[in-house]
């Protein structure tokens, strides 16, 4: 079937299989920030945005993005820059495999919530598992980033 959608602001038309996932489609489109972790909708590594909302691309049927806008980390590089620097400074990415999904969910959070507190951030990011950092360094990085935003 033919699929028409927007990827990071560019209109695309692709031939897809009806049971293809958004994750497969995005990898095929060269969006290598989108990674497969659990492939069972549990870990958050494959997070992208559909019409601005964070979703799990491994569990999302590609056919449903017909007419919709999909955003991957490649599409919000500039916006992600400051948060990426905070993650690096706090040692909050080690193997780095979870980082794109974490960034996409965290950026969605900062767009959605004005000034999230610690508990709100933990709740919003509960679906992003990380097997390396133990989360403490991620929380420090988020706090630092949030502080930077406030003082702007």
């Amino acid at each position: 079937m033919t699929l028409n959608f927007a990827l990071n602001g560019r209109k695309l038309s692709r031939e897809i299989a009806p049971d293809e996932t958004l994750l497969q489609l995005l990898r095929d489109c060269g969006m290598h920030s989108v990674r497969s972790g659990c492939d069972t909708s549990n870990c958050g590594i494959c997070t992208v945005w559909v019409d601005g909302k964070p979703v799990l691309s491994c569990g999302y049927l590609a056919a449903r993005v017909e007419g919709r806008a999909v955003t991957t980390l490649e599409g919000v590089k500039d916006e992600a820059e400051a948060l990426m620097r905070c993650l690096a400074a706090e040692g909050a990415d080690q193997c780095g495999y979870c980082s794109p999904g974490f960034l996409m969910c965290a950026l969605a959070m900062f767009r959605e919530l004005e000034n999230p507190g610690d508990a709100e951030m933990r709740a919003y990011l509960a679906g992003n598992l990380c097997r390396c950092t133990g989360y403490a360094s991620q929380m420090r990085a988020l706090a630092k980033y949030a502080e930077g935003r406030r003082s702007k």
Binding site: P18, D19, S41, Y60, L61, A63, C105, A126
Partner: protein, 278 residues
């Protein structure tokens, strides 16, 4: 993993139902996440996302939640944070993560009658009704026990606004995992008590013996009754004995929450003053 031969966006509910009836291997797609993990060989996938079924409406006498509303919609809808002590919003919060809840739908969660369902446990205690496109509206309680034989499409869930206050408690071995046991308790302004227990691991069910004791003001007795009168089973997440114990503990916690809440509620009811969002 699932295989799908054809993907169709239904243009009306009648068309969707006709497609469903056209073949045993045709399936309705909600968020699609549960389906994808199974091994179903689907001939036609029937997508309901263009039928405007994603609305949550707060009307005069009842709230209506559309089948394609996501669990995140339930969590964030201002009316559902307010009504019934916010239990619907609370019940879905522990489910995986924000991204997941942006996708999983109310219709699929209710129609599939999952034993582990947090949302069903809460809805059952709120005396909700389901609206099916073929079979019409029926109480959720009945739908859970005797669902119509013919496959149907769930279009909405209705909840009467009878001034119910409610409390929800679930116990999880780790955050974002399925609940080991779910409990929801509610009481209407007329003093009609409801108690539902889910993830036993069987489907959520009410406990009439406990409800009678709640009405008589005996919370501790009701908690014991919930443990003694319902059936509990063992699974990967916990033994039957453990669940029975949790049933008593969580029922008591709901009771305590409603009692404390009641003292406050009496001061502020029945006006809306003081309810403005902080």
């Amino acid at each position: 993993m699932i295989s799908i031969q054809e993907y169709r966006f239904a243009e009306s509910l009648d068309e969707a139902l006709a497609l469903l009836d056209a073949g045993k291997r045709n399936r309705v797609i909600g968020g699609g996440m549960w389906l994808r993990l199974g091994h179903a060989g689907v001939r036609t996938a029937i997508d309901l996302s263009r039928l405007g079924l994603d609305k949550i409406e707060d009307a005069e006498g009842e709230v209506s939640i559309g089948a394609m509303a996501s669990l995140r919609d339930v969590e964030t809808a201002p009316c559902l944070r307010e009504l019934f002590g916010g239990v619907l919003s609370e019940s879905v919060k522990p489910i995986v993560g924000v991204q997941f809840r942006n996708m999983a739908t109310v219709g699929a969660s209710v129609y599939s009658r999952y034993g582990f369902s947090d949302l069903l446990t809460a809805l059952l205690a709120l005396d909700a009704a389901v609206v099916l496109h073929r079979a019409g509206e029926m109480p959720l309680d009945e739908f859970l026990r005797n669902p119509p034989e013919k496959r149907d499409i769930l279009t909405a869930v209705h909840i009467r606004k009878d001034g119910r206050r409610a409390a929800y408690r679930s116990f999880r071995r780790s955050k974002t995992d399925f609940g080991v046991l779910n409990v929801c308790m509610s009481v209407s302004t007329e003093g009609d008590w409801r108690l539902s227990v889910g993830a036993r691991p069987g489907r959520a069910t009410r406990c009439p013996e406990a409800e009678a004791l709640l009405a008589a003001g005996d919370g501790a007795g009701a908690a014991k009754a919930a443990a003694e009168n319902l059936t509990y089973g063992s699974s990967l997440r916990g033994s039957a004995d453990y669940r029975r114990h949790l049933a008593e503990v969580l029922t008591l916690r709901c009771w305590d929450a409603l009692r404390e809440d009641g003292a406050e509620a009496r001061d502020s009811e029945p006006t809306d003053a003081g309810r403005d969002e902080a």
